[in-house]
Amino acid sequence: MKFKRILGFLLVVLAIGLVPAAAQSSTATPEASSGGQSLTIFAASSLTDAFNEIATNFKAANPGTDITFNYGGSSTLVAQLSQGAPADIFASANNTQMAAAQKAGRIGGTPVTFAKNRLVLIVPADNPAHIQTLHDVANSGVKLVVAAQGVPVRDYTETMLKALAADSTYGDAYVTAFRANIVSEEANVRDVSAKVALGEADAGFVYRTDVTPDIASKVMVIQIPDLYNTIATYPIAVTNDSANAALAQKFIDYIMSDDGQKVLTSWNFITYVIPPQPATVTLSATAGSATVDGQVLNPLTLTVDSLKSDFTSVTENVSFLSGTDTTTASFTGVPLWAIMSAAEPNFNADVKNDKLSTYLVVTGTDGYQAVIAWGEIDPDFTGEQILVAYEENGQPITDAQGPIRLVVPSDKHGGRYVSGVSDISLRDAPSAQK
């Protein structure tokens, strides 16, 4: 009898637990009407929220469509696909895993890039390990969580580590200490963000889109400088044996459309669309300041004060010909590379070495212009220390055109020393056509 009473008690507990859950599910997604078509979509876990919203919109526009998602680490999804798991669409967090799915013979059409993403460092909101910069992650005792080998976000983390190892301010010692701090390698990126949001881990590397509204108040985001970061690209494709290939293609078309892209950008993804640049450059509206715009994700406005406070300045001793006289001076300013990194260039990751077909148009307040090719400032190529200077021989620059001046140390003539810099615009060379 006692047992029955206990059983009854347990059933009541269970019922209390289930009522709100049932109420929630009945309001959230009404059952799709039977007889409609269905889609099974394998998608990288970082896409969870954006794809759920896109699916809701798509179902509203295509009544009777039933969409089932299988979210997971892209490498896990590829393993499932190559073992024959039924799917209509595969959306991967990098090209490597899409290529693996193609190699396994599971991809029908040509994959297209539909979104881009960036790596960020997250720490719990109360930041128990006092992490302020990328440097602090390697401090001893930091509990660092990353994704497992093969998961795209780990590949991007490794790319970052390679760049950090090559940089003298970090170096191999940093990477060694970084690796020693890893306490767990999670199966997918959302497990990483969950462990940081729970406060169990001190830091983790995730995509900026993983800082969803659910966890935004529980974590703090620390940006990774563009010098070390890479833009993650997300390819999508219909599988080779989709029972609903036409509907699957329709879903992909919707994602590529303005509406679909709007949902993705609302979840902090970077749209794959690179907007065309106007034929003119717009000079900074405020005197004494310069704008950084064009094909960048994060347009900036620079002033002498912001150059001093937001960046690390360097001093270069230069000599150049102006007319027939040789001018020798020492300029203090910020490397153009650091400024462009902060502006986050929006390169097309699908085009090989796309960055090398871009250039910077530097315009002075008087309309004087000079061009710097991307390869000139990129450390992988010429890597020249071109400066956006604000001091000459220790004194503020007093050019009539303005207080900011471009300094190109290796130039023989001073022609590209643009005075009164008002705009720096990243542009792409015209595309080739037959």
Binding site: A79, V183, S184, E185, A201
Partner: protein, 278 residues
Amino acid sequence: MLRLRRSKTAAVDGGARTLPLARWLIGALAALALAFLILPIFGLIGVAVSSQAWDEAPALAIVQAIVLSFATTSITALVTVILGTPLAYVFARWRFPLRRLLNILIELPIVLPPAVAGLGLLVTLGRRGVFGGELYALGISLPFTTAAVVVAQTFVSAPFYVRSAQVGFQGVPREIEDAARVDGASSFTLFRRITLPLASRSLIAGLVLSWARALGEFGATVLFAGSLQGRTQTMPLLIYNIFDSDINAAVWAGVILVGMALLALLISMWLRRDDTLT
């Protein structure tokens, strides 16, 4: 009621009245069930042999995972015996209020999804858990440590031992104990010389089962302890981690686990040879 039904079935089964068709059906279903239960294991072994999976297996990771699995499950077994034996004895012999309810709660981890177990451990013993602050004050931070693996394994596997040990203690005839007590045996001597030896087979069988369960622990470990080679990555976690990059290696690691689990099962069955059907 239950016994009645069973005896009736037995009568039908044993008699010649059983229809040939029914026999066929039962036989076919049994064959299907048998195939379903053993084929995946043979599939695993077959694939491992045909692809020569051991050639490509990341030797170091597998060796580290085996060592870690053995070390953690051994400690788990030790903790289980030290804490589980008194618990089983108390529940087998003492009478106190809420005993039956508590007994159900003890066995709950057996049927609980391991992920729920891991979540429970995380919100209780994690850094931000109910007792996280107290543990931290003592300088203890469990998540992501090998200790967390042991905690997770003990939580999900100890009930198997406790249940079996309880049955064992209950099976020791009171008369023998009473006789020993009459002969002047102290409580401790009684337990050590009479109760323990008589219950030992159940104890060991339960321990082997709980060890096998600890060996296969995955869900609670991955949530509570994370996964790091050499520190928290036990065999099941290794398999999950490498199956998407190198399925052959995962298969090979799986075959090793199958062998270990089979061994545990055989030991357990041998110990209980009188209780079970041969």
